[in-house]
């Protein structure tokens, strides 16, 4: 029976993941919004489905991909939770309802004070003290605007928590307003009326602009109306009907209005979106479905959007698989089995095998997810901090599995599954920032360097971490258990040394390729930039460990302690250098990340402290030492 466990468990987990790979279906009783979520648009410079726009907008507003419409209710009171697309449909087509949804998360007490919203949870006021509606923000909008303008004048690294909260809220509001105007004249459900109103506004805006040019006072509301619709944040929803300069140029709805103003017939998409809006308002599900299907067909018949339709639909499917979240569950299960091995190594071969299989499944999942991203973006695997976390999860778990095959003692799988889980977790938090498939700045727009320097240096991080986690397991086992038998000792030391050699190689080659890239694009090989220095630190540290071992300055325990210190250095290099907010790589600044980083470093330092206790106090070596 025991021999069957690994297979059964693995099959169960595979089924769990496999279920999620099925294309999503509309719930029978809900509004059929999945088809709408599939529609292609362009936002942040890339083709994406409405679904991604909705998810990323909601992430920006409240850090989650769903909306709890009754947050004051406890989890067991079954608050009504709606999907991102459901919410976005309301914002776009029924803003009056959307304005009553508690979609804005506000945590800073001073900001709450400024807005005069309930400070704490109060069921009578229908508030949980954290989430607020647009209608709650609106009365004190002018005050908020004034304070925010002041906050924006402070350089972003120097802003205090209040100013940061203001700026974040302002960005969320900007997103929200942009969503409201995305469909332009179609939003109301009656295109003729919508166009009439918009053209009238346009006329006013034009007059106001001319007045401003002449130095006369103009109608500022009309100008604001126009610039709000032209905002970079507003998605491009209007497809082209013909190529311009050989390009299929999508535009914002305001451009479609401008075209009508110039005498062209309204773009076909406007009428379809208007039909959707009308059906949505009337809660007419079949009409809504027809409108979406009609638009999809019309879009396809232009013959210009096939690739974008496919891309958007693929991405929507990928959003629904939540693949990396599945990976996290499998990885943590694998880790639990791997830990079980250590309690009774002799009798737990089945647990070791289960852990190993689950870790392989984790690798397959992460690899699959990364592969989708690679094909979808047409980019090498690592393009931003988020994908570097995914890639480290993959690299480290592969290294761990190789170690498991070379030294089959349950060490490799434990390292692999823990690293996979940890890094996927990091990725999960990084994803809260919004779009993870964001386009690359010009200097990064080179697949050659992204696939060599970035990939190899990330493998360097992964392998250094693997050595460090091995070190942690060695210390914990050695000090607190009798698990480190002479044989285990040899396995740990052998595996640690082997992985460190690879770490040395990858981190050096990766760092140097980065230098060569810099030489290619800026004309200097080495500029002592913060991120470059971080990578160099890893190289120096790995060299130090290898030389200390070579010179006999350290034996097993010292080696492992140094490897654990490598964790701190790698983490600092990976995140800390970005947090310093200096240099060329200072992207992705996150406030919370700093505390996490410090916590991680502190834990590792404590472990080094434990690992530095004399040999007699290590349970594994107590007898040997006293002999």
């Amino acid at each position: 029976m025991k021999s069957r466990i690994p297979l059964i468990v693995t099959v169960l987990f595979t089924l769990m993941v496999g279920m999620k790979l099925m294309p999503p279906k509309n719930k029978a009783d809900a509004f059929p919004t999945l088809e709408f979520g599939k529609l292609p648009i362009i936002q942040s410079g890339r083709t994406q489905p409405m679904d991604s726009l909705a998810r990323n907008s909601l992430l920006q507003l409240r850090g989650k991909q769903t909306l709890n419409t009754e947050p004051w209710k406890g989890t067991f009171d079954k608050p009504k939770i709606i999907s991102a697309v459901d919410w976005m449909l309301e914002v776009m087509m029924d803003p009056a309802t959307a304005d009553t949804r508690p979609a804005f998360r506000i945590d800073h007490p001073d900001v709450k004070g400024l807005l005069g919203v309930p400070m704490t949870a109060d069921e009578k006021l229908l508030s949980d003290g954290k989430h607020y509606t647009w209608n709650q923000i609106l009365p004190r909008f002018d005050a908020l605007q004034q304070e925010t303008q002041r906050a924006f004048r402070v350089k972003d690294k120097l802003r205090d928590s209040y100013q940061k909260a203001l700026v974040d809220l302002w960005k969320a509001i900007r997103s929200y307003k942009s969503l409201k105007v995305t469909l332009g004249p179609a939003a109301g459900g009656d295109l003729t009326k919508g166009l009439e109103a918009d053209l009238a506004m346009m006329k006013k805006a034009r007059e106001a602009f001319e007045a401003q040019m002449d130095g006369r006072p103009g109608d500022n509301t009309a100008l604001a109306w126009f610039s709000e619709r032209q905002d970079e944040n507003v998605a491009l929803v209007i497809p082209p009907t013909a190529l311009t300069n050989g390009k299929d140029e999508w535009t914002r709805s305001i451009n479609a209005v401008l075209a009508v103003d110039r005498g062209a017939p309204p773009n076909f998409a406007l009428a379809h979106y208007a039909k959707m809006a009308a059906a949505f308002k009337a809660k007419d599900a079949p009409a809504f479905t027809t409108a979406v299907t009609d638009y999809s067909a019309a879009l396809k018949s232009t013959g210009l959007a096939d690739k974008r339709i496919r891309k958007a639909s693929n991405e929507q499917w990928f959003n629904f698989t939540e693949l990396f979240y599945q990976g996290m569950i499998v990885a943590v299960s694998a880790f639990i089995f791997a830990l079980a091995v250590w309690f009774a190594p002799a009798r737990m071969e089945w647990a070791r095998l289960t852990a190993l299989r689950l870790t392989v499944l984790t690798v397959v999942i992460i690899f699959g997810g990364l592969l989708f991203r690679i094909i979808h973006e047409g980019r090498p695997p690592v393009t931003n901090l988020y994908s570097s976390a995914l890639f480290i999860a993959l690299g480290a778990s592969v290294f761990g599995i190789v170690i498991e095959f070379m030294w089959p003692r349950g060490i490799g799988t434990a390292v692999a599954s823990l690293m996979a889980f940890g890094c996927l977790m990091v990725a999960h938090f990084l994803a809260l920032d919004g779009d993870t498939l964001i386009m690359l700045q010009a200097v990064l727009d080179t697949n050659f360097w992204l696939s060599t320097h970035v990939v190899i240096v990330t493998l360097g991080y992964a392998s250094t971490f693997v050595a460090g986690i091995l070190g942690i397991f060695y210390i914990l086992n050695g000090v607190f258990t009798k698990n480190i038998t002479p044989e285990m000792n040899k396995a740990f030391y052998g595996a640690g040394f082997a992985i460190l050699c690879f770490a040395m190689l990858f981190s050096f080659v990766g760092t140097v390729l980065g230098g060569i890239w810099a030489d290619q694009s800026w004309g200097r090989f080495w500029g002592w930039d913060a991120k470059e220095n971080g990578a160099l630190l890893i190289v120096i540290w790995n060299a130090l460990i290898l030389h200390a071992r070579l010179g006999g300055l350290v034996k097993e325990r010292g080696f492992m302690n140094l490897a654990v210190a490598g964790n701190c250095i790698t983490a600092w290099s990976w995140f800390g250098t970005n947090l310093l907010g200096i240099g060329l790589h200072s992207y992705g600044f996150k406030e919370g990340a700093f505390n996490w980083l410090m916590g991680f470093i502190a834990v590792n330092l404590v472990l080094i402290g434990i690992g530095s206790t004399p040999k007699e106090s290590w349970r594994s070596f107590a007898k040997a030492a006293s002999n």
Partner: protein, 548 residues
């Protein structure tokens, strides 16, 4: 002596140096947050030692070896260790030297000729590795890997030193259609005197900024007059007297109005209410409340009302508010883009005044009649640069010609001497090249519907002055520079002309670095050596496993 030799050949020293190096890199990175990238580099990495000064961050130890010291010791350590551990190979010296020669020379060739073809480069290394390991199996060259790594490190260290000493970075800025035969230094400036020569070309006499010390008298055979520096600063603001006086007046007026506003406790509650409801400097209010010992609540009004009824506390609050708003106003002035306003704010803070005679006029000619010079501390960040300023007195035959003020912020000034018109001023140090570069077109693509740059590209025409070279439509873009006559041209910045936004402008960075190849070869050596060493160990490891 023996002990010293033991020390320099020991692995222990290597470990200590690596540890010192790790701390240096770590601290040198932190230092950038305070000192800026450029100065931190000079202080930490391009130096012999680092000494703690007052005001330094926690990362600066009282004394620490600098990059050059650690680097040099590293070199000594590596060379000594290798010398000491050298063993006569069992296969004889000839076999050994042949093997080493093969590997290092082949590496050089592969790296040089296949550098721009990554796939072939990699294949080249792989073929070399197979050959190398096959020979090793036959008994020679066990240490090729380690030796290659260390030789590579030496190459990298020496190469970096060479780059530090020899490379020159300049840039060339132009608008579409313009031509340049010179580039300008990033940081350094020069004082120039220009006059038209008989053949209609400009004759330029340049004096590098490093020669501009206060009190110096500069004599040049090409100048018919001497230049005495009555005042000079590496970095200076040029202040327009009239504007500064006006700004000082404005600031004083604003402060007086504010003082009046916060003179009586009666207005406190009303003002607090206004600030809270309409949005104002609520944070200033809160801080002031905190300073008088009141808990700064979300709504400051109740606390303020309480205080207003207690005269002593109210007076204290008024004083606090005054000082805080005063600081805010002065800071706001300092942060304005105008140097005049900043100077006015500083003068006010220091309790001084600006008048028609104070500070005294810098000189009697040209811009000196309207402007004066204020020395500033060195620029710290990458996007700032030092703007040197000086007051110069020109003299000929023992008679003074007048005193001028010069700065890159001022236009060229003119004066007549000896029947010629001389133009002069401070500008970025120029490097003239034996070729002209013409900017034909700039391409600045953005992603659809965003401001995120997708592609920067300059199309240029390059023509050598001696007509030996005439390249048309050369594309220079991010990640693909142009290499020509020992120089490398990189796409640096891109913009639009202020006066005519349809005309694109571009800045190319031009680097002369004779040692540019050393990192490539150094890296090839280290990368190859490491891979080779680990592969060899893996082969031995698997063989041993098979045997047991």
């Amino acid at each position: 002596m023996k002990k010293l030799w033991d020390l320099f050949t020991s692995v222990k020293l290597a470990v200590v140096l690596l540890a010192l190096g790790a701390w240096l890199v770590f601290a040198g990175t932190w230092a950038q947050t305070q000192e800026g990238l450029y100065l931190a580099q000079e202080r930490w990495f391009k130096s012999l030692w680092v000494i703690r000064h007052a005001g330094d961050g926690w990362w600066v130890l009282p004394f620490f070896p600098g990059g050059y010291t650690i680097g040099t010791l590293f070199l000594v350590n590596i060379i000594c260790a290798h010398t000491r551990r050298f063993e006569r190979p069992p296969g004889g010296m000839v076999a050994l030297l042949t093997h080493y020669g093969l590997v290092f020379i082949a590496l050089w060739f592969v790296t040089t000729f296949l550098l721009w073809n990554p796939l072939w480069l990699f294949l080249g290394y792989a073929v070399l590795m197979v050959a190398d390991l096959t020979i090793w199996q036959k008994g020679s060259g066990k240490k090729v890997g380690v030796d290659a790594v260390h030789l590579g490190i030496i190459t990298l260290l020496v190469g970096q030193l060479g780059t530090d000493l020899l490379s020159v970075e300049t840039h060339m800025s132009f608008a579409e259609g313009e031509s340049r035969n010179y580039s300008e230094h990033h940081h350094d400036s020069e004082l120039v005197f220009i006059h038209d020569d008989a053949d209609g070309r400009d004759k330029v006499v340049t004096i590098h900024q490093s020669l501009l010390g206060t009190g110096r008298v500069l004599v040049d055979p090409n100048l018919p007059f001497t230049v005495r520096l009555t005042q000079s600063a590496k970095n200076a603001s040029i202040i327009e007297r009239k504007q500064a006086i006006e700004d000082l007046g404005t600031l004083r007026g604003a402060l007086a109005t504010m003082d009046g506003k916060y003179s009586s406790p009666d207005m406190l509650a009303a003002e607090a209410k206004k600030v809270f409801e309409e949005g104002g400097k609520i944070q200033v209010w809160r801080a002031a409340l905190g300073a008088v010992g009141e808990k700064a609540d979300i709504d400051p009004v109740p606390a303020v009302t309480r205080i207003a009824s207690d005269p002593a506390k109210a007076a204290k609050l008024l004083a606090e508010l005054k000082t805080r708003f005063r600081t805010e106003m002065i800071d706001a002035f300092k942060n304005r883009q105008s140097a005049d306003a900043a100077y006015a704010a500083e003068t006010l803070e220091a309790g001084r005044d600006i008048t028609d005679t104070q500070p005294a006029a810098a000189g009697d000619k040209g811009a000196a009649q309207r402007f004066f010079l204020v020395p500033r501390p060195d620029a710290l960040t990458m996007d700032e640069r030092n703007l040197p300023g000086a007051v110069i007195e020109l003299a000929a035959n023992g008679a003074t010609l007048g005193t001028w003020i010069v700065s890159p912020m001022l236009k060229e000034q003119k004066f007549e001497f000896g029947g010629k018109e001389w133009r002069f001023g401070i500008r970025s140090e120029r490097f003239y090249h034996p070729f002209h570069v013409t900017l034909l077109k700039t391409t600045h693509e953005k992603y659809d519907g965003t401001e995120t740059p997708k592609d920067f590209r300059s199309t240029v025409h390059l023509a050598a002055t001696n007509a030996a070279e005439n390249r048309d439509r050369v594309e220079i873009s991010m990640n693909s520079p142009l290499r020509y006559s020992g120089l490398t041209f990189f796409q640096h910045q891109m913009g639009r002309e202020a006066a005519n936004t349809s005309r694109g402008t571009s800045t190319l960075q031009i680097v002369r670095n004779p040692g540019w190849f050393t990192p490539y070869y150094g890296c090839a050596l280290v990368g190859y050596g490491m891979a080779r060493h680990f592969l060899m160990h893996m082969l031995m490891f698997t063989r041993r496993r098979k045997q047991s």
